[in-house]
């Protein structure tokens, strides 16, 4: 990235807006052209619309998983409760966990990764826009598929880690586990496609001058997460294939009678499952690493340390999986080894927390909503992290594993950590995405209710765990003395419900007020931001950037607003809203496509076939293969489709910025027909 002479205000040179007539190759292989209405969403390849759809669908599943959790909490209100049957309860906690992990937190992170990462690196879209749409639709159909099991004889009753041999046909004869296995398999395909796409985007499509050491910290954390996905998902894929072979084709991978070792499943699951924990939390670490500096008006303290601790977590996350199995009978040497590795993964995590505090230290802290959620992440995640260190003491963990202490721990990590960070991200980027702020008063009510409800719901679980309440038990005896804290916890869960209703109301009300012109359109740079997404109008124009920004340092946009004067004092030299791009160009953009959504339908159909009738699988596979042809033969609508394919502006000898920006645009469009 040696090209830095580019003038910031120079307009991208493009043969933009030329009317073109696409070759009408084969009749059906046309591209959709709608720019508004529902079709524009179904067939879009725009990373922003895809990001928004990830977010909306994830929030829907958040609601579903929340209802599941509330039913569980109602059941646990008192001893020997009989609101739910054992089977109903088992289905609910299984689907609550599976839904929250795979259909809420992961896609919410994917929503931000899709929407924000291209903006932060100054790109016009992701590297492979149609693959991006494909990943979205596979995810959507995978989520629907997983939840179909509610209506086909009952969802899986095995917990989200679905241990063998309980998951085998002998002990789980219904189709629930099949839906679980294929649901996760389909969602895994979506995540793999997405991860490859985002890795290529981040590594190849950064604005000229944005070296890795200049890259925004959120983009960094997303990059680490995509590598974790890329390497961990194949492991769960293998495990799920073995499970399916056992259940549908009579194999014996987990059949103890035939000499199988059921711990094989646990190893495979947790080799995926532990990196998965970091897949869930690192995006939120990235978000607060953006918001804490912005709302403290200070740069991130120790950017390099934070980046490397993120990478360190990514690597070390592969060496700790067996701490989920301290009670499994691994033998003392293995337990001791994994106990030690687990201790040390606390080091990079602790580094992050202290760097965040140091970022705020000496700052000028504005209590805007994103900041409030970010600060609560720092506090709440710390609690979850510390109980994690307690679990690293393996002997002590044998009293805590599979008890409510663990449930408290991972909710402090995943709710107090991941979800708090994602809420911070929503309030932070809402004006960029939708063009207006969310109501601050309602937002504050939301914040305080979440914080109080969260601590009331999950704080008591620490006590319940120490009192010996085992998780996944649909009732408990009176003698156990669990009812007081279970009641507090249930009340807390309902406080969270109220908080989320306030949030939903805020979204609807703010949107309505914005439509009616009662609240103003947000400026390009409402928070005095540091990264490139704030250098373009709000909401983001369809083409993102009028011209490719050129970056010379970390927080480049902020340094365009502030500089040291002749007395060596830092002063504001420009307002972000004034120097932002105008968003008035109309460059050519990747065309929408029918094929991602069509191809995605093939996956659940093929999976249903394995459960019910293999002929249906053939239909599903035909759809997938046929769509590949449609995909490949789709006509390009690019007016410049004949121009040379130089996707490597940094390799090319170049004497100016034009070349770089044109190449980058070309990379975007070239990819769309690959």
């Amino acid at each position: 990235m040696a090209i830095i002479e580019h003038e910031p205000n120079e307009v991208l040179e493009l043969d933009s807006g030329d009317p073109t007539t696409p070759d009408r190759g084969i009749g059906v292989f046309l591209r959709p052209t709608d720019e508004t209405g529902w079709r524009s969403w179904l067939f879009t390849v725009d990373h922003k619309k895809i990001g928004i759809m990830y977010g909306c669908v994830a929030m829907f599943w958040f609601f579903v998983a929340g209802v599941e959790a509330l039913l569980v909490r109602i059941q646990l209100w008192g001893p020997d409760s009989s609101v739910l049957t054992a089977s109903e309860y088992n289905q609910l906690f299984t689907m609550h966990g599976t839904t929250m992990v795979f259909l809420v937190v992961m896609p919410l992170a994917a929503a931000f990764a899709n929407y924000i990462v291209p903006l932060q690196i100054g790109a016009r879209d992701v590297a492979f826009p149609r693959m991006n749409a494909l990943a979205l639709w596979i995810f959507i159909f995978g989520g629907i598929f997983l939840n179909l099991s509610w209506f086909t004889g009952g969802a899986a009753e095995c917990g989200w880690f679905c241990y063998a041999p309980n998951s085998g046909l002998a002990y789980s004869p219904g189709t629930g586990v099949d839906y679980y296995a294929f649901g996760l398999q389909i969602l895994g395909v979506a995540s793999l496609i997405g991860s490859a796409n985002i890795i290529v985007t981040i590594l190849n499509m950064r604005a000229p001058g944005m070296e890795l050491r200049h890259m925004p910290i959120f983009t960094w954390m997303i990059l680490v997460v995509q590598f974790l996905l890329l390497f961990s998902l194949p492991v769960i894929t293998v495990a799920l294939i073995l499970l399916t072979l056992d259940r549908s084709f009579g194999a014996n991978f987990f059949n103890v009678d035939q000499g199988a070792d059921p711990l094989l499943w646990q190893h495979l699951f947790w080799i995926f499952g532990h990196p998965e924990v970091y897949i869930l939390i690192l995006p939120s670490f990235g978000i607060v690493s953006e918001t804490l500096p912005v709302f403290s008006r200070k740069p991130l303290f120790g950017y390099t340390f934070v980046v490397f601790s993120g990478i360190g977590i990514g690597f070390m996350g592969w060496g700790v999986w067996a701490h989920h199995m301290f009670a499994s009978g691994l033998g003392p040497v293995s337990v001791a080894a994994f106990s030690a590795t687990t201790m040390f993964i606390a080091v990079p995590t602790g580094v992050k927390i202290l760097n965040w505090i140091a970022t705020m230290w000496g700052g000028n802290i504005r209590f805007e909503l994103p900041m409030m959620f970010s600060i609560s992440l720092v506090s709440m995640f710390t609690i979850g992290g510390l109980s994690g260190v307690m679990h690293a003491v393996a002997a002590s963990d044998t009293q805590q594993t599979d008890s409510y202490f663990i449930v408290a721990h991972f909710h402090y990590v995943l709710f107090g950590g991941a979800l708090m960070g994602l809420f911070a991200g929503m309030y932070y980027w809402w004006p960029k995405i939708f063009g207006h702020h969310l109501n601050k008063r309602l937002g504050k009510i939301h914040f305080w209710l979440v914080l109080i409800g969260f601590n009331a719901a999950f704080g008591p679980m620490h006590i319940l765990g120490l009192q010996g309440q085992a998780r996944r038990q649909y009732r408990y005896p009176e003698e156990a003395n669990f009812d007081l804290w279970n009641k507090v916890s249930t009340i807390g869960a309902f406080v969270i419900l109220i908080a989320m209703l306030v949030f939903a109301y805020n979204i609807l009300k703010s949107a309505k007020q914005y439509r009616n012109g009662e609240i103003p359109q947000a400026g390009a740079d409402p928070w005095d931001g540091r990264t490139l997404e704030w250098s373009i109008p709000s909401p983001t124009p369809a083409h993102n950037f009028d011209y490719t920004p050129v970056v010379t340092q970390l927080d480049d946009f902020w340094h365009k607003k502030y500089a040291t004067n002749e007395h060596g004092k830092l002063v504001k030299i420009a307002d972000g809203n004034d120097i932002a791009q105008k968003g008035d160009q109309t460059p050519h953009l990747p065309s929408p496509s029918f094929w991602p959504i069509v191809m995605a339908t093939g996956f659940p159909i093929a999976a249903l076939g394995v459960i019910y009738n293999l002929a249906l699988s053939a239909v599903g596979l035909l759809i997938i293969v046929g769509s590949l042809y449609g995909w490949a033969l789709e006509p390009a609508t690019d007016p410049n489709s004949g121009h040379g394919h130089d996707d490597h502006p940094d390799d090319a000898p170049s004497d100016g910025g034009d070349d770089a920006s044109a190449s980058q645009d070309e990379a975007t469009e070239g990819a769309s027909v690959v």
């Binding site: 309980n166 059921p262 001791a336 505090i357 000496g362 044998t398």
Partner: protein, 379 residues
Amino acid sequence: MRASSAQRSPMRRVLRPAGLAVAVGLLTTGCTEGGVFDTLNPKGENARIIDDLTNFIGIAAVVVGIVITVLVTYVVIRYRTTDETYDALPEQVHGHTVAELTWTIVPAIGLIVVTVLSLPAIFELDSQDKDDITVLVEGQQWWWQFSYDLDNDGEYEIVTSGDIVFPAGQQVNLQITSNDVIHSFWVPELNGKKDAVPGLHTPLKLHADEPGVFWGQCAEFCGLSHAEMRLRAVALDDTDWERWVSEQTTAGVIPDGQDVAVQRGYEAFGQFCSSCHVVDGVYDSAYENEPPLLSGIAPNLTHLMGRTSFAGGIFELYNDDGTVNEADLLAWVRDAPGRKALAPDNQQGMTSFAEQLSNEQLSDIVAYLSTLGEAPILP
């Protein structure tokens, strides 16, 4: 976007420390009112090793947590913006290598200390002395079976379920396994949990300082009735232990026919129950044919009345006044799936006899069951 005065209301300053105080308060009070599964109430050597570690790491975690929380609270209050300073630029500190190395290295050293201090317990808890009594613990959907090898000859002299009886004051070796799915054996007051994995024998030790009854439960999700798979660990003094062993090693006797109801119950048991349940010396043939239970065998009932509970430890066998809990026993024999989540259609658990057996037959069977073994020996 200007900060309003409401943002700097005392609310925030008060709530955060208050929340912390409440959390600490909850933890301390929570520690004092545990029930039968309390992990912080060790009653034996093994549990005490764990408890000492938990206290050590728990206090360390709470201290670090308080430090961080106080620090965060201080920072957000001390450096909050005001109307006057809203646009002010603080000093732009990008980092401090020495500080960062410090807070990388110091926690790492702390964790090394914790690791070194905590690892020996893993090996200590895992070691078993071969001379101690060995009990084979088998998890089944959804009850526990305990087989005793008292003389270390590889043969099991006693087979029981529900209550694991052992001598107080000495270590007892457990070999834990499963006949179906993975379970986890957990008596919180005596030791941590250990999974029962089919095909593996995982070691665990039981030790109780004093005679007593300690509750246990299955701690790994094992299917439908995971919540209703409990047990009692009964520690006896040496005299009681000897007495219990001698009682348990006597075979059952065929009723002499004096009590008509018992006699009829004995016959009905043979017809309806003995294909799954063994009564040593009376109905031994239960497992000669392929048992109709996928998850293994049904409990051995030879000394049923010597136990405190039945049906996976969820019903008391005796009322508070010491009489047999015939109501629950009858209801159980009549319609087990109506009393506990079972799936007899998938051969998981006892089937319902509500259709097959008349009320008279049911009470006859209960009458017969009441003759199986002596009353429990309790500390």
